[in-house]
């Protein structure tokens, strides 16, 4: 449900679309919880799409951070669907600046950590602030490489934006492209449809 797609080592011709398209298949794994039974373990075909750009901006003093809640909760940025038949594929990119971004889902639970005890992101630490952190150059504003997938009532994805030391203030600009995908349930998918489907994992599968 959260991916960083690295720059390709080779190109193919004709090119492959970067985002989900009409007619594509997506499959949600069985690890999705029962509370999200509308998608858990199901395969869908995308009937229609609509791409919606957006930008989120914060100006923060050096050494400070702010949490950006992408969900529709109070105080959130409302970047989650409200319809059970909608999947949001959200591309996230960053304008250049002296800042780092950590991902949490839900609040307080790190997306990126190592297995050794204590090897978790920590913005208060001079070293661990770099653990699991994305830099703006990892996903440029005009070539977004971070993809997140959200459905109605998914737990909130939190972006913790930390302005690194060395400057007075930084303007952190997050560029979003929300690819709205309207889903049609395929009750009995063929083996070929299952093979072609993009697998969308629950966030708990990305932590072990």
């Amino acid at each position: 449900m959260l991916e960083l797609r690295p720059a390709p080592l080779a190109t193919v011709s004709p090119g492959v679309p970067k985002i989900l398209q009409e007619g594509y298949f997506v499959r949600f794994t069985d690890a999705w919880p029962d509370t999200l039974s509308d998608v858990k373990g199901r395969l869908f075909q995308i009937e229609k799409t609509n791409q919606v750009p957006y930008a989120i901006t914060r100006i923060i003093p050096s050494g400070n951070y702010t949490d950006i809640d992408m969900s529709n909760a109070t105080g959130g940025e409302n970047i989650y669907p409200e319809n059970t038949k909608t999947l949001y594929e959200t591309l996230i990119g960053f304008k250049p600046g002296n800042y780092l971004i950590h991902f949490y889902i839900p609040a307080g639970e790190y997306m990126h950590r190592l297995e050794q005890t204590g090897m978790v992101p920590n913005v208060a630490s001079a070293t661990l602030r770099y653990l699991g952190a994305r830099k703006p150059s990892d996903s440029p504003y005009d070539d977004k490489r971070i993809f997140s997938y959200s459905v109605k009532d998914l737990e909130p994805l939190i972006l913790r934006v930390l302005v690194n030391s060395g400057i007075d203030y930084e303007k952190c600009v997050l560029g979003l492209l929300v690819n709205k995908c309207y889903l049609k349930h395929i009750a009995t998918p063929t083996a070929e449809q299952s093979r072609l489907a993009k697998v969308i994992r629950y966030y708990s599968e990305l932590r072990w």
């Binding site: 930008a55 901006t57 914060r58 100006i59 923060i60 003093p61 050494g63 400070n64 951070y65 702010t66 304008k95 250049p96 913005v123 208060a124 602030r129 930390l162 007075d168 203030y169 930084e170 303007k171 600009v173 560029g175």
Partner: protein, 122 residues
């Protein structure tokens, strides 16, 4: 790229309003003080409002607040015309770009002091 010419017919003039999703990157500043009555002390301010944030080291909450940061200051003599281009390489405005004219430390208008400000959004 865009440009604007302002006459300092007020001691404080706005050069470019804040663009929410971009920084202002000046590429050329030209100051024509030839016909002004006195030497001009020009201060280029960056005016913006911070977001609520938390100090990483202590966890203390910090409320958002209006800020005015000085980004460039230059004195230009009367009868002089000055242009800055390469010197602006690392100059960036996070919010609104504003210029303030003073004479001997006192805010002073002079419509014969002209400022050309060329910029991009980054």
């Amino acid at each position: 790229m865009a440009s604007i010419v302002v006459d300092m017919d007020a001691a404080t003039k706005t050069l470019v309003a804040e663009k929410r999703n971009a920084k202002i990157k000046p590429s050329l500043i030209m100051i024509d003080n030839v016909l002004a009555a006195a030497d001009s002390e020009l201060t280029f301010n960056d005016v913006f409002t911070t977001s609520d944030s938390i100090v990483a080291a202590t966890g203390a909450a910090v409320a958002g607040a209006a800020q005015t940061e000085r980004r460039l200051r230059i004195n230009v003599s009367t009868l002089a015309c000055v242009s800055l281009r390469d010197e602006l390489k690392d100059l960036i405005f996070l919010g609104l770009a504003q210029v303030v004219r003073t004479v001997a430390g006192v805010a002073t208008l002079d419509a014969n002091c002209h400022i050309t400000f060329c910029y991009d959004f980054e």
